[in-house]
Amino acid sequence: MANIFPRFSNWLPIKILVCLTIIAVSVVSGMSYYFTPKYTRVGYQPTQPAAFDHSLHVNQLGMDCRYCHTGVEKSSHSNVPGTQTCMNCHTQIKSQSSKLSAVRDSWKTGNPVPWVRIHKAPDYVYFNHAVHVNRGVSCVACHGHVNHMEVVYHAKPHSMGWCLECHRAPENHLRPLDQVTNLDWEPPTGTTQREIGEKFVKEWNVKPPVSCSGCHR
């Protein structure tokens, strides 16, 4: 009896199996990469040219975020401080520390310190710091507890879904305006964040945009 299947078909099941395995592996690895916080850079913690310690400056010395990030309440962009801001104190304090050599060099030469960027929205996203911090959204909502970080890292995913979680339910994040830069603030005992947030949503007429044009222009 003639063979129904040609000779090459002997290898066919194995070929199919290999293909399916490759597809399955790539789908699984793709998913596990692109759909996890790793892709959104959570945990990204580059080495900075000068080892600035937020926990020391904020938690121990009690400096306000806005001492350095001066534009955060006025501008879309929250600026990184200029060398001058560092040197306001560090001409007196730790003026010879080796950790500050990059800052001193910058002050001497006039070349800026090339701080490594951690949080970056894509070019087609127009995020505005001023409108968030002026309407009761704390720094901690997006940047995590920077005041406890010795070296700053990317704490939250900053994906569109994550943005919309808050834009759809702002009451989960609103706090009194004078507590916006107090990253350790907790709702007073006896109240919940939700109660306080709902009160502010109503009183301040908070309606965050959820349409495309809110962020994409």
């Binding site: 600026n79 060398t83 310190v113 044009s213 994409h216």
Partner: protein, 1066 residues
């Protein structure tokens, strides 16, 4: 019930609107072109050897290769680079506005420059200055791109070689030494016209140091004939300007005051103010126009007469006689006693002139006669005298002290050069090698001077021929001052350090004077101190105000009304002649300013090259404009082949000089007369200017400077493809523009609803659920067609604001221009003497947007505030939305226009990728720069809306008051519009201008029967014809009878009854 929706047959109102001669005659080529959704080839790669199939194969392979390495997955490390020392006031990411001004030959434009992080990105009018009140025009909008032009020279050169600053210092010292020994007789300076008091001061100082030096001024498009006429009639050192806001009857004789050549922003504003008719009973001004070429002013005319400029003389004399008949006066008798008796040109109805004169006389000092500054002095002087006779002087015609200093002209300078006296020639700005009168043979003349120095913003033909070529600064890079057209004193402050090693004219002059390099505004401060006579603290306060507000707030100087010197005019009148023979072998020519490139200075500006001329809709080229009859006599044709306008090329010969140029047939042009736009054909200027148009300067001589007769045209048998946008995105005759006379409007204020299908549409239902419109604002826009002049300032402003790329001539010919707002220009009536209407079309932001329902990826959706928003990063480029858009307002990025050289678009990955660094600086950081394969369209400037909302919220903090203060939110087109024809605002605000205008009875939306519910609506155009005029239209509409059935299928209303009504004139 099944409903078949067909578009109504064209023109149920009895009027046909057409946009081109092809459409008028409905040639088969045009029909085919029209019925394609996109122009032929718009979706093809026809110039490319790579077929679609091969392309897909290649892409598949490269995708597979890309998959092997995951290099594209990681984000690159980015840096945040703060200031070392923060400058005062600067908040990174926040825009700042500074007052400045753009110098122009006729008077500077007061402006506000928007800067982002130290780089100017957008110009707006200065809202404080009465001439602008926030409005601007095409050239001031486009001038920002000139700052960042990659063709700018970076270093001074000598004979093409880079030189150091010490070489330059040595050269200046040498010139000073040489000039001192000759008292300056060997030194000549040829400058452009800046109207800068500081430059005038330095000039006076220079002439004091070197008394024998020659200072000549040359501006190719600034005839001084108006100044001459003014000094004859009103006395020495006077000039005049119109005050159109006071005028209710205007006659314009070849004076395009609504275009950019003759008038300025305030003229358009003043005219629009008199034109605006909101409710029956409002007064409407009336405009008569007699002109050779259909100009923007002609489109606004209630009565337009096409008249060769050579026939203006007999026309004017007849007008003067008719004015004398209507208002007898001894002055006019003496004036006309010596005038020749010329026959009226053929085709001019004496009744036209009679009734026009009667109307002018009836309105006395509210009437105004304007005359083109290019016309002979005798005619201009006569018009000034007539204005005086009408009582217009001091009311609609303002006489003011002359602003410019008289100096020698280029012919006198040429004489001196020929005599060999000039050893050093310094050319400040301008490009005489390109645009000097051809009879001077300037290139040879300039070469005969041993030492020439050229200071200019862009390296041009003159720089190339000069020994020393010094890069000049842009007006946004240097301190300066200038006079506006009303004589007010404006400050020019720099927005950015000079990008390259450039210097300003003031720097060069002060160096030449042996003064130290001026630091900051020192020179301007000195002039300011002289003008204000202030010192000490008072000076500082006044100076700060001057710089902050951009101008010196003092009453502008007008001269008291004075009796015209009629005897000097009477002597001139004998020279008036009919200089326009009707001879096809000796045509009349008019050298005109190009609306796009001015006298040629914007020829390397991509925005202006791609700017469709308001009347011809021609881009990237100029052409000899002529009427249908003239073209027929010469055997010339314009054909549409595969959707591209192919024009016959002619050889134009004038007094032995000739040039090859395409001939473009335009409706409404006078017969036996042609117009030649100047400014094109510059091969030396840069990659943008290269290859566009022909150089009309090569025909122009000192005598044949603006108009005359004797031009010969010879058909060459060659053709040239022209990129004309007038047929792109055609909507056919569906009652898109609606017009009525004042009397029709008074009879039925809601006349727009009786036009077309509007009276017949049944209550419509939408198949899709309406979007939820529950936002805190509901945005809408209204455009008033009565005041829109069609000047295109909105197009340029939108281009600047929204990072709209230019696509180049080839792409425009395929219908791929990217302008988000276009101005449709319709003609109506006979092609020889049509009327014209302009209609700006942007995205209508339909509430039931047809584009949204077909997008497979939800890239275009509705937001809660009624905007049809576009998420570029979601768009996958199916172009379904553009196919489904009834208004054809969506634009597709067929190529990466921002990243690729326009002449290498088809090279694909073989061409270098990237934008010029300087061009990047211009981009608005708040608008995405779109890439290839993405659909885009007008968003009502959503970035401005969001910015205004954010500002309101930042201000509100913990209160609920989120109101956006009135006047703080304007779209770019609205802000630029000098006629204030565009209003934009919130429909939920009862008091907003847009709510009130939408409630007006003359408000209508385009294609209402489609039930897409546009948020952009129009106010029907109201014309004000004089019923006594010959051929006056009394009715623009044939209203629908309501007795017939409201047919749901194709509407065929042939009703012929018409309102016969008389126009009234307030």
């Amino acid at each position: 019930m099944k409903r078949t929706l067909s578009h109504p047959s064209p023109a149920p109102n009895g009027r046909t609107y057409w946009r081109s001669l092809g459409e008028y005659s409905r040639t088969p080529d045009f029909e085919e072109w029209l019925h394609r959704e996109f122009p032929a080839g718009a979706a093809e790669w026809e110039n490319d050897p790579l077929s679609r199939r091969n392309f897909l194969r290649l892409m598949g392979a490269s995708l597979a290769l890309a998959g092997l390495s995951l290099s594209g997955c990681r984000r690159p490390e980015a840096h945040l680079v703060p200031f070392t020392q923060s400058p005062e006031w600067v908040i990174p990411g926040k825009k700042m506005s500074f007052a400045t001004a753009q110098p122009r030959r006729r008077g500077a434009v007061p402006l506000l420059a928007t800067t982002f992080d130290g780089r100017p990105i957008k110009m707006e009018g200065n809202p404080l200055h009465p001439l602008s009140l926030g409005a601007s025009d095409n050239f001031s909008q486009a001038s920002i791109l000139d700052l960042y032009d990659p063709a700018r020279r970076q270093h001074p050169t000598r004979s093409g070689k880079k030189i150091s600053s010490s070489d330059w210092d040595a050269e200046i010292a040498r010139i000073r030494y040489e000039s001192a020994s000759t008292a300056g007789s060997s030194l000549a300076i040829l400058s452009d016209e800046l109207l800068s008091p500081t430059r005038d001061r330095l000039r006076a100082e220079l002439l004091k140091q070197f008394p024998q030096a020659t200072w000549a001024t040359y501006e190719p498009l600034a005839p001084e004939k108006d100044l001459e006429a003014s000094s004859l009639v009103f006395g020495d050192n006077t000039e005049f300007r119109p005050n159109l806001s006071a005028a209710s009857t205007i006659l314009s004789l070849d004076c395009d005051f609504l275009g950019s050549d003759e008038g300025d922003i305030s003229d358009t504003r003043g005219f629009a103010a008199g034109r605006r008719t909101r409710k029956p009973g409002d007064s409407t001004n009336r405009l008569y126009v007699a002109e050779p070429r259909f100009s923007l002013t002609g489109t606004m005319a209630d009565h337009r007469l096409r008249l060769r400029s050579g026939s203006m003389g007999p026309f004017l004399l007849e007008l003067a006689r008719q004015i004398r008949t209507a208002k007898p006066s001894a002055d006019l008798n003496t004036l006309l006693s010596q005038s020749p008796d010329l026959a009226l040109p053929e085709g001019v109805d004496p009744a036209w002139i009679r009734e026009c004169a009667a109307d002018l006389v009836a309105h006395g000092k509210q009437s105004l006669i304007l005359v083109g500054r290019r016309l002979p002095v005798s005619l201009q002087a006569l018009v000034l005298a007539l204005n005086a006779a009408l009582g217009a002087v001091g009311s609609t015609l303002i006489v003011q002290p002359r602003r410019s200093i008289p100096s020698s002209n280029i012919n006198q300078l040429a004489g001196k050069i020929r005599s060999g006296a000039i050893r050093t020639l310094i050319i400040l700005g301008g490009d005489p090698v390109y645009n000097a009168p051809a009879d001077l043979n300037w290139p040879a003349l300039q070469s005969s001077v041993p030492n020439t120095i050229h200071l200019a913003h862009l390296p041009n033909a003159t720089s190339k021929q000069s020994t020393w070529s010094i890069p000049g600064t842009h007006y946004l890079e240097s301190w300066g001052d200038a006079l506006a057209s009303d004589g007010s004193y404006l400050s020019i402050q720099p927005m950015i350090q000079p990008l390259w090693d450039g210097q300003s004219q003031l720097d060069l002059l002060s160096k030449l004077l042996g003064q130290p390099k001026p630091i900051g505004p020192r020179l301007i401060r000195d002039t300011f101190a002289q003008r204000t006579n202030l010192s000490g603290e008072k000076f500082d306060l006044a100076w700060n105000d001057f710089v902050r507000e951009g101008f010196l707030s003092s009453p502008t100087s007008t001269l008291p009304p004075r009796a015209p010197n009629l005897s000097s005019v009477a002597g001139l009148l004998s020279k008036i002649e009919n200089s326009a023979p009707e001879d096809i072998c000796s045509l009349e020519f008019n050298f005109i300013q190009s609306g796009a490139v001015d006298d040629g200075r914007y020829a390397n500006n991509g925005w202006m090259q791609e700017w469709p001329d308001p009347m011809t809709k021609l881009t990237w080229d100029n052409a000899i404009l002529m009427s249908q009859d003239t073209a027929k006599s010469l055997g010339l044709k314009n054909e549409i082949i595969k959707g591209i306008l192919v024009a016959d090329v002619v050889q134009a010969t004038l007094a032995g000089r000739s040039v090859e140029a395409p001939a473009l047939i335009v409706p409404g042009h006078a017969n036996f007369s042609v117009s030649l736009p100047l400014g094109y054909g510059q091969e030396e200027l840069g990659s943008v200017a290269k290859g566009s148009g022909f150089n009309a300067y090569s025909l122009r001589t000192s005598l044949a400077d603006y108009q005359g007769a004797g031009l010969q045209l010879k058909k060459l048998g060659k053709t040239r493809e022209l990129a004309v946008t007038q047929e792109h995105q055609v909507m056919e005759g569906r009652d898109l523009v609606r017009e009525a006379t004042v009397s029709e409007f008074q009879k039925d204020p809601a006349w727009v609803k009786t036009v077309g299908m509007d009276a017949h549409i049944p209550k419509n239902q939408s198949f899709y659920p309406n979007p939820k419109l529950d936002g805190q604002h509901q945005w809408a826009m209204v455009v008033d067609l009565s005041t829109c002049t069609g000047c295109n300032a909105c197009v340029t402003a939108c281009t600047a604001e929204n990072n709209i790329p230019i696509v180049g001539k080839d792409q425009v010919m395929k219908g791929r221009e990217m302008h988000w707002i276009r101005v449709d220009r319709y003609f109506t009536g006979e092609p020889d003497a049509p009327e014209s209407v302009s209609q700006p079309i942007a995205c209508m932001q339909c509430e039931n947007a047809p584009c949204e329902t077909v997008c497979p990826v939800n890239a275009t959706v509705h937001n809660e505030e009624g905007l049809n928003v576009m998420a570029y990063n979601r768009c996958i480029g199916t172009r379904y939305c553009a196919n489904n858009c009834p208004y054809k307002v969506r634009r597709f990025n067929f190529f990466d226009y921002n990243q690729r050289a326009l002449d290498k678009l088809y090279w694909g990955p073989l061409a270098p990728k990237g934008t010029e660094e300087t061009i990047k600086l211009q981009k608005n950081p708040n608008v995405t720069v779109r890439m290839r394969g993405v659909m885009e369209k007008c968003t009502f400037c959503v970035q401005r809306i969001e910015d205004a909302k954010i500002t309101a919220r930042v201000r509100a903090r913990d209160s609920a008051d989120l109101k956006i203060p009135k006047g703080t939110l304007k779209t770019a087109c609205q802000q630029a519009c000098p006629a204030e024809a565009i209003v934009f605002g919130d429909l939920l605000d009862e008091s907003s201008e847009v709510t009130q205008q939408r409630a007006l009875p003359q408000n209508y939306s385009l294609l209402e029967y489609l039930n897409v519910r546009p948020r952009l609506t129009y106010l029907g155009r109201i014309r004000n014809p004089n019923p006594a005029m010959p051929g006056a239209k009394t009715s623009y509409n044939t209203p629908h009878g309501h007795g017939e059935s409201h047919a749901e299928t194709t509407h065929t209303n042939q009703e012929s009854s018409s309102h016969k009504s008389e126009g009234t004139h307030k």
